[in-house]
């Protein structure tokens, strides 16, 4: 099953419609399930719901063989954390899908690091979907503890000098 999720805050009908067409035309053969948000385009070729609670969402991620989504940071980190192959399409300002094109920059950076596949333009989607099955995302190195230590050191320096 491919899980298509575009967040619940704003619709991303452009992507949902494209995936709908790819399923209808047989380019996507897998079953697709989607979370599309409120007042969104309803696909004809697969099942979609407005929103899922956290538990149901996590279950769908767990069951999915691959994910398709916008290039939102929440979805990207979730895909990396669960080691799921993700095909992301950035929301674009020119279609009124987002206030600026930061998702393009995020997508480019994480694509460069091998964490996900990206379709920047609609015509790339079909080709990238075919690569998704074989795609193995590069695990990501994060160092929250090291960053926290740096801040803690800084605070220790301050509170030591503030002590009587």
């Amino acid at each position: 099953m491919i899980f298509l999720t575009v967040g619940t805050q704003f619709p991303f009908d452009r992507l949902v419609k494209m995936v709908d067409e790819l399923v209808a035309s047989g380019v996507i053969e897998d079953e697709v399930f989607a979370q599309v948000g409120d007042h969104a385009y309803q696909p004809r070729s697969f099942q979609a719901v407005a929103s899922l609670d956290k538990k149901a969402f996590d279950e769908h991620v767990h069951d999915a063989s691959a994910l398709i989504s916008h290039a939102g940071m929440g979805t990207i980190t979730m895909a990396i954390d669960t080691a799921k192959p993700l095909l992301a399409m950035p929301r674009r300002k020119r279609y009124g899908e987002v206030v600026n094109d930061h998702q393009v920059a995020i997508a480019r950076q994480f694509e460069r690091l091998g964490h996900l596949l990206v379709a920047y333009e609609p015509e790339e989607l079909a080709g990238k979907v075919r690569l998704l099955k074989e795609f193995r995302p590069t695990p990501r190195q994060v160092e929250p503890e090291a960053v926290a230590r740096r801040i803690a050191e800084f605070l220790n320096g301050l509170s030591a000098s503030a002590a009587p």
Binding site: G74, H102, V142, L158, A162
Partner: protein, 155 residues
Amino acid sequence: MTKSQRFKICLAASAGGHLTQLLKVSGCVKGRDVFAVTTSDTVRRTLTGMGEVYVVGECNRDHPLRVLAVLLRCIRIVLRERPAVVISTGAAHGCLLCFLGKITGAKVIWMDSITNVDRISLSGRMVRFIADLFLVQWPELAQRYRGVEYIGSVI
């Protein structure tokens, strides 16, 4: 007055990704006297254990009146709590709190969000001039901006 009461730390992060990233490093304030300022009531529970939680509402530069309302709420919070340090990941209200903190003598720590890949956020670019510790999550940004540190990414 105990020592901890005189060394209050303000944690400022908007609901969503900014807060997620701040919570990833929240171990840095373990055992310290903290309070939190966020933008939505929906994340109040996420901040359990982070001391008093203030919710000031969302604002951005496209809505100047809302910025003003948030600014007034932040002024009241800073005057009441008198933080010794403000730690923020953004967004706009975090930027306001950093400046208000600085004016009232606090040290300012900014950690720019992971989503700022090519350049530092607008809020971050302003806070950079007053920050005492400025962290970014991409090595390229530390090379591009002076006075900016890259230790690693938190997410």
